[in-house]
């Protein structure tokens, strides 16, 4: 189902700054780019406010990414928020959109992203720090432009499967030759609802299957980790704990993955 462009242009005409939760359809991003709007990716920590300020709206035991999105939405002065509530995101985001729509004086627009044209995965397979690549992939949601500068692919020595974590510091533990799989790969490909792509992994390389605590993807991560011959399943909430960090370090080192 294509996203309805007419009301979209009318809404965005009145905006200067919009927030996005998940990956809204490319039609939204393209129009926002054409209107030179500032786009804030609310899934990332953007304001220095306590996560507790989300607690009147969302339970404390809830996906940390969406709690972060609520904190951002409450503290940034936005003109509208677009939330992907399609199969590329989750029910948690749908409910968050409902709550924000009532709490905020701005339009909170649910948009089901069914985009299926593949942009490719140059960064997921490149040789570069995993942290740098994940930052670039997440920044990429704010642009509808095609990928022109494609870094050459590398031979993988490890895998990171999952969503971009709430706390990126865990990514520093991986070598540059780590390939990215899971929803982060769908994100770069601009097909967030491609469940087939999301479920892909490379059985040849030791892989960490990561999910945010309290996310439904924990089930998929653990399921795939059990199918993979050399895997570590990991879920992390707001911050990467010392034990999570130690597990990744030990897993990579004991699996013979060179730093």
């Amino acid at each position: 189902m294509a996203f309805e462009p007419a009301p979209l242009a009318a809404t965005l005409n009145r905006c200067q700054k919009i927030g996005i939760i998940g990956i809204p359809p490319l039609a939204v991003i393209r129009t926002a780019n054409e209107h030179s709007l500032v786009i804030h990716d609310l899934d990332e920590p953007l304001v220095h406010e306590d996560l507790e300020t989300a607690s009147p709206f969302l339970p404390r035991v809830y996906c940390a990414i969406l709690r972060t999105a609520v904190v951002n939405a409450l503290h940034l002065e936005l003109d509208a928020i677009y939330v992907d509530t399609g199969p590329g995101k989750c029910d948690c985001a749908l409910h968050t959109a409902t709550i924000l729509a009532e709490a905020l004086p701005i339009p909170v627009i649910c948009a089901k992203n069914m985009d299926a044209s593949a942009y490719g995965n140059p960064l997921c397979q490149a040789k570069l720090s995993l942290l740098t690549r994940m930052i670039a992939i997440t920044a990429g949601v704010k642009s509808a432009a095609l990928y022109h500068d494609q870094p050459p692919p590398s031979a993988p020595t490890a895998g990171f499967w999952g969503v971009p974590p709430r706390d990126f510091s865990i990514l520093e533990l991986f070598p540059e030759t780590t390939h990215i799989y899971g929803w982060a790969r769908c994100m770069e490909n601009k097909t967030p609802a491609d469940h087939e792509l999301e479920a892909q992994f490379n059985p040849e390389v030791p892989t960490v299957f990561f999910a945010q605590s309290f996310c439904a993807k924990t089930a998929l991560a653990r399921y795939l980790a059990r199918k993979h011959p050399h895997a570590l399943y990991l879920d992390v909430d707001v911050h990467t704990t010392n034990s999570a960090r130690a597990k990744v370090q030990a897993f990579l080192e004991l699996s013979g993955v060179k730093p």
């Binding site: 570590l232 704990t241 010392n242 034990s243 960090r245 130690a246 597990k247 370090q249 030990a250 897993f251 080192e253 004991l254 699996s255």
Partner: protein, 222 residues
């Protein structure tokens, strides 16, 4: 070269320069602040050493040197956390570290011993058990049982058995496991596992550090 395993309740040391020396042990709250070692592990270790090895790696390397099998599960029960390493065909197959929930179990067993002045060597493994996922939360089961007339020794024994069963499940419910940590000296705890247990004692991580030190030590040039 001095190695140190800095645990929550106890710190263990080994001096590689003295091949005859046995590991030494000291209560963490009696540790001199100026203590320095060359290679450390344990959750307090980074403060006392120039080089640090994380506890899971130290445990795995300790297991590799002490266990002559290719398939095994090694479980370490510390004061504040539990962790395990599983090897299959001589390769790492699974691991886990539970420091958040499931925490403080070893610490609570020590605490109860002092509070009720118990000697664990005299306690029988009970038929019943408490369902324990956390040392702190599990204590309320003990108090409830004691209030309802269960003898203190029986209530504590059920709690200890609950901890053993929780740790066993956390390690993947193996038919046999190797046990590391101070709780190896607690016969009630060891006997409470519903599987075959081989206690390796409290110096497994130190042995892992030793393996790490020997592996990375610069070779002498003749």
């Amino acid at each position: 070269m001095i190695l140190g395993d800095f645990g929550t309740s106890y710190c263990k040391f080994l001096d590689l320069a003295n091949p005859e020396a046995e590991p030494t042990i000291i209560a963490t709250n009696e540790l001199p602040r100026e203590t320095r070692v060359d290679l450390a592990t344990g959750h307090n270790g980074k403060r006392f050493a120039t080089r640090y090895v994380n506890e899971l790696i130290a445990l795995a390397k300790g297991g590799e040197t002490m266990i002559e099998k290719k398939d095994y599960v090694l479980l370490d029960c510390g004061s504040r956390d539990i962790k395990f390493i599983k090897y299959q065909n001589g390769k790492l197959a699974d691991m886990g570290w539970n420091a958040e929930c499931g925490a403080s179990m070893g610490f609570t067993i020590e605490l109860l011993k002092r509070y009720y002045e118990l000697d664990y060597t005299g306690l029988q493994v009970p038929g019943q058990t408490f369902y324990v996922t956390c040392g702190v939360l599990g204590m309320s089961d003990i108090f409830d049982a004691v209030i309802s007339g269960v003898p203190v020794t029986e209530a504590v024994a059920r709690f200890v058995k609950g901890i053993a069963i929780n740790a066993y499940r956390f390690a993947g419910s193996p038919a046999r496991l190797y046990l590391s940590g101070g709780l190896c000296d607690n016969p009630l705890f060891v006997g409470s596992f519903p599987c075959q247990v081989t206690p390796l004692g409290r110096f497994v991580l130190l042995r892992g550090l030793e393996a790490e030190a020997r592996q990375t030590r610069p070779q002498a040039v003749c």
